[in-house]
């Protein structure tokens, strides 16, 4: 090959490498960007007076006096809207206006939309479910709901050859020429005074229990459950995995059985995670009966099977990478084989082993399929340490799926869903980052 062809090839190769790095970064930004931007809104957002009332009621947070003063303030403003509607209703009932028959339905629809925004009036009986007790607690949601107060969503089916299209009809049009007409510009001008938005940092989202199935509150039970699962998995996986790696690297004599073992471990790494889930249900719960029903213990054992290949491989590679001279020096000084492994080889292999462990922690935290049948539930209490042995838990990956597909009000709790995804991604990123730092620090220490 001529020198300049080689140069061109070389350059194009560098160029392609550079391109793929750029592509990778871009796709990361595209995937993670929205998660971070929307996820952070579960923590940092503009709340409304309804939020502060909810926090006081459900979590005992905030100054009761202050909240009461704020409530008095907003209801003084809201009073005008409700009074106007009530006066108009009376007029309608007494048939003092033209076409009074057509108004009750419109008033009902208006009242419903107001209830969604402001919550029930103080003189109404308290609804039984917390979700109906408060108006919009977030300013971004309040603005959306306010749009539905100002405009009525209707569908236009006038074209028979196609599906209908959405039209927004200003609600004010249905009340033209009546006293109610004035409340619409009034609300538009005073929306902030009606809701009192305020910037808030809701860090307790990470630790709070959910109220009324994630309508309010945080994801404390899920975060705790995920930690339990990860820690439980590591308790089983680290000893088994490292001991297996030591055996394979130091003791096993190459033969049919050992090569079969290796094949088995590699195959295990390629088994789809749902298979582990079903196996866990059939083996740990139905056959071994480690617990009566789903439990953190059964889930941890199942996840252990899932991460074992990763840990064994990482540990074996790390042990094999320790220079032979270390081992020979130790043995020549009269140390036993076990002593050599524990005191010389394992410490030298520690960075590699730890990396494998931390990466598999990330895997265990994020897997959904293995815990569907063995550990995860959609509603439950945060568990005490010993309850993990026989009780199921909520966990981030499963509850994200559950909230997005099975929740009865998916659209109203988008911020919770994104907050959960954000937390999970952050957890995995932090774990992987920790792996890198740990590895660097230990290898630096070992080098002296």
């Amino acid at each position: 090959m001529k020198a300049h062809t080689r140069k061109i090839l070389d350059k194009s190769f560098t160029g392609m490498g550079f391109m793929s790095v750029i592509l990778l970064t871009l796709s990361l930004v595209i995937v993670l960007g929205p998660i971070f931007v929307r996820g952070i809104q579960a923590f940092l957002f503009f709340d409304t007076v309804e939020y502060r009332r909810m926090q006081l009621d459900l979590f005992d947070r905030g100054d009761p006096e202050e909240v009461k003063a704020e409530l008095d303030e907003v209801w003084a403003e809201r009073r005008f809207i409700y009074d106007t509607i009530a006066a108009f209703e009376e007029q309608v009932e007494n048939e003092e206006i033209e076409n009074s028959w057509e108004y009750p339905e419109k008033i009902d629809s208006l009242n419903d939309s107001l209830k969604a925004l402001f919550g029930p009036r103080p003189d109404e009986p308290e609804p039984v479910l917390p979700r109906d007790r408060y108006g919009e607690t977030r300013w971004d949601r309040a603005q959306q709901t306010f749009k539905l107060v100002m405009y009525k969503e209707q569908w236009d089916y006038s074209d028979p050859s196609a599906m209908g299209s959405k039209v927004l009809v200003p609600r004010i049009d249905s009340f033209r020429g009546t006293t109610v007409e004035q409340i619409f510009p009034y609300m538009e001008e005073n929306l902030e005074k009606l809701m009192l938005p305020e910037f808030t940092f809701y860090w307790q989202f990470l630790t709070d229990k959910s109220h009324d199935i994630h309508f309010f509150g945080g994801i404390g039970a899920e975060v705790l459950g995920t930690f339990y699962l990860v820690i439980g998995t590591m308790l089983f996986a680290i000893p088994i995995g490292v001991i297996a790696a030591i055996y394979l690297a130091e003791f096993a004599k190459e033969g049919k059985i050992v090569s079969l073992l290796r094949t088995a471990i590699s195959t295990l790494a390629g088994v789809p995670s749902i298979v582990f889930g079903l196996f866990g249900l059939a083996f740990f719960i139905n056959t071994m009966e480690v617990s009566q029903s789903k439990s953190v213990l059964a889930g941890s054992l199942t996840l252990t099977l899932l991460v074992l290949p990763t840990i064994i491989r990482a540990a074996e590679e790390a042990i094999l990478a320790v220079p032979k001279a270390y081992k020979e020096a130790s043995l020549s000084l009269g140390a036993s084989k076990l002593y050599t492994i524990l005191k010389v080889i394992l410490p030298a292999a520690m960075p590699g082993i730890l990396t494998g462990i931390v990466i598999s922690m990330g895997r265990a935290a994020g897997e959904t399929a293995p815990i569907i049948f063995t550990a995860a539930v959609s509603v439950g209490q945060p568990l005490g340490l010993f309850e993990t042995l026989n009780q199921p838990t909520m966990a981030l990956p499963w509850n994200i799926y559950n909230l997005v597909t099975e929740h009865e009000a998916v659209d109203q709790i988008r911020h919770v869903q994104f907050g959960m995804v954000f937390t999970l991604v952050l957890l995995v990123v932090v774990l992987n980052f920790a792996a890198i730092v740990l590895r660097a620090r230990i290898s630096k220490k070992l080098r002296g």
Binding site: D159, S161, G164, K166, I238, S293, S378, H407
Partner: protein, 274 residues
């Protein structure tokens, strides 16, 4: 080594402690239709009794029955009655399923709100799902191919639908099966030509319920039997729970005014006028 020894020892102590610690717990599994009721009851009950841990999973009526038979749950949420086979399997294992009807439900036929079709008849639904009607044109809508969405065969909603509407005739191939009520609604929400069916607790503004045979699914039309695709929702226990236990109080929670109010607030039909 000390680290690993600590790990193993901790694991062993944890295991040995498991026998000693047994907090009050109630495990529910089953129907995704009964799910919202079960979840709301659980939250309300746990608020009144913080020492009880009630866990709810939603995996479908069939799985709920299986769990109860295997002794893996205390209460099986079911949106249909137990089948003969399931009863036989339960009795064989020494489990006596007892039904508690917690609410009434109608199965609403839902379409995308942009769909101009407002009414449908039982025969037409059957024709759609058997593949005889394939275009919205035949129902007075635009010339668009119908996209059928159904629950999976493990679902009680599916079995009710199969029994009441399909009359045991097979759903045609090409129908899309999804795993929960929420997922059916989600699919219809994103598919302008879609049709699906969900429990009325899952109706909201994002989808449009059709009248079936001229009757709209409301609390009144369902409890009076006028709406044709209606059914009771059950919680099954193993035998009748012992009086005074949390299981007894919880499974009878639907009888309390608060329980009935919750059922109604979620959108299902309470059994009494409370």
């Amino acid at each position: 080594m000390r680290f690993f020894l600590t790990c193993v020892l901790t694991a062993l102590t944890l295991m040995s402690m498991s026998v000693v610690m047994a907090a009050d717990k109630i495990v529910l599994d089953g129907s995704t239709t009964v799910g919202p009721i079960a979840k709301a009851f659980a939250e309300a009950y746990m608020k009144e009794n913080p020492d009880v841990n009630i866990s709810v999973s939603e995996s479908g009526s069939g799985n709920g029955a299986k769990s109860l038979i295997n002794g893996a749950c205390h209460i099986a949420d079911m949106s249909r009655f137990m089948k003969d086979k399931e009863f036989a399997a339960a009795v064989e294992k020494g489990i006596m399923p007892v039904a508690h009807c917690v609410a009434l439900d109608g199965i609403a036929m839902i379409v995308h709100p942009s769909n101009p079709v407002k009414a449908i008849t039982m025969a037409q639904i059957k024709d759609i799902y058997t593949g005889k009607i394939t275009n919205w044109k035949d129902l007075g809508g635009p010339d668009v191919k119908i996209v059928m969405i159904s629950r999976d065969t493990n679902s009680g909603t599916y079995e009710t639908f199969e029994g009441l509407v399909m009359k045991k005739e097979k759903i045609v191939e090409g129908c899309e099966y999804v795993g929960s009520n929420g997922a059916v609604r989600g699919r219809v929400q994103s598919t302008p030509a879609g049709i699906g069916y969900v429990g009325i607790g899952f109706l909201d503004k994002s989808v449009k319920a059709l009248t079936v045979g001229g009757v709209y699914p409301t609390k009144k039309s369902i409890s009076s039997g006028k709406y044709p695709i209606a059914r009771p929702l059950f919680m099954f226990t193993n035998g009748y729970p012992k009086m005074g236990t949390h299981l007894f109080t919880f499974v009878n929670y639907y009888l309390s005014p608060k329980g009935q109010e919750i059922v109604e607030a979620i959108g299902f039909v309470p059994i009494t006028e409370y």
